[in-house]
């Protein structure tokens, strides 16, 4: 079994929400367990938010293309955009934020890459032909439909 589906949308916060929802609906239609869909949605949303907030920062929002490939025990999501490359071509380490210290020092951001790394089994990033290609992989166990 192998299935692919794709969607694309403009890199705005509201369009991103619609795009993420459409991927979630497709995964649900294909019988992925709800818990796993939730985890995929968290990682996908963080990756797409990064494109909206960083790759296209300060420019007219371009497109975000998402292509999902669903196999027996693996889901791969390829996120493609024509925005700025990830600085130094290196994905952020995504270390856990420290929650020590007084209330006013608690972090209000910087969780994105930590969540992506926690929830994926493999991440691959490539810059080619002026585009970012970020592939997130998830191990899955399909419930029989």
């Amino acid at each position: 079994m192998e299935e692919t589906f794709a969607c694309s949308f403009a890199a705005t916060e509201l369009e991103a929400r619609t795009g993420i929802n459409s991927v979630v609906d497709q995964l649900r239609d294909r019988g992925l367990p709800e818990t796993r869909i939730g985890e995929v949605q968290i990682a996908l949303a963080e990756a797409v938010n990064n494109v909206v907030e960083h790759a296209y920062a300060g420019n007219a929002p371009g497109d975000v293309n998402i292509r999902c490939q669903l196999e027996e025990e693996k889901l791969s999501i390829l996120i493609r955009d024509a925005g700025a490359p990830i600085p130094n071509g290196q994905l952020p380490a995504g270390e856990a934020q420290s929650l020590e210290g007084p209330l006013e020092d608690l972090p209000e951001g910087g969780f994105g890459w930590f969540l992506i790394r926690e929830l994926t089994s493999d991440i691959h990033y490539e810059r080619s032909e002026g585009e970012n290609n970020l592939q997130l992989s998830f191990e899955i166990q399909m419930t029989s439909v």
Binding site: E13, L14, A16, R17, E34, T35, G38, E39, Q41, I42, A45, E46, N49, V52, E53, A96, Q97, L99, L103, E104, L106, P107, E108, G109, G110, F111, G112, F114, L115, E118, L119
Partner: protein
């Protein structure tokens, strides 16, 4: 307005009337929380039972909402649905907030888990 506010036994309960607290919604949420919780009681419970999804922007907005209350007041969270709960546990924010499975537990003063 995406928030509604009620008083239960001297505690302010703020309910989020939205399915998502995501990047598209985080700034408005933070501003609405500020206006809702300006000059209120010491304890505020945020009822998240209608929220099915939160991202790191939404998480940051809830942290900001707690900071806005200042040190003398506190923000407890109730009714976390599975994905919301997951985000709080993964980021260890479950150690910063008191989390209650339901609003009833929160108002009854029984901690679901800490």
């Amino acid at each position: 307005m995406t928030l509604t506010s009620t008083m239960i036994d001297g505690t302010q309960v703020v309910s989020v009337n939205a399915e998502r607290i995501d990047a598209a919604m985080a700034i408005q949420f933070k501003e609405d929380m500020r206006s809702q919780t300006d000059n209120g009681p010491e304890r505020v419970i945020l009822d998240l039972s209608e929220v099915k999804f939160i991202d790191s922007s939404g998480l940051g907005a809830i942290v900001a909402a707690m900071k806005q209350l200042g040190g003398a007041r506190k923000l407890d969270l109730a009714g976390l649905t599975p994905v919301v709960d997951k985000v709080f546990r993964l980021t260890r924010m479950d150690t910063v907030f008191n989390l209650y499975a339901t609003l009833e537990e929160a108002t009854g003063g029984v901690a679901a888990e800490t």
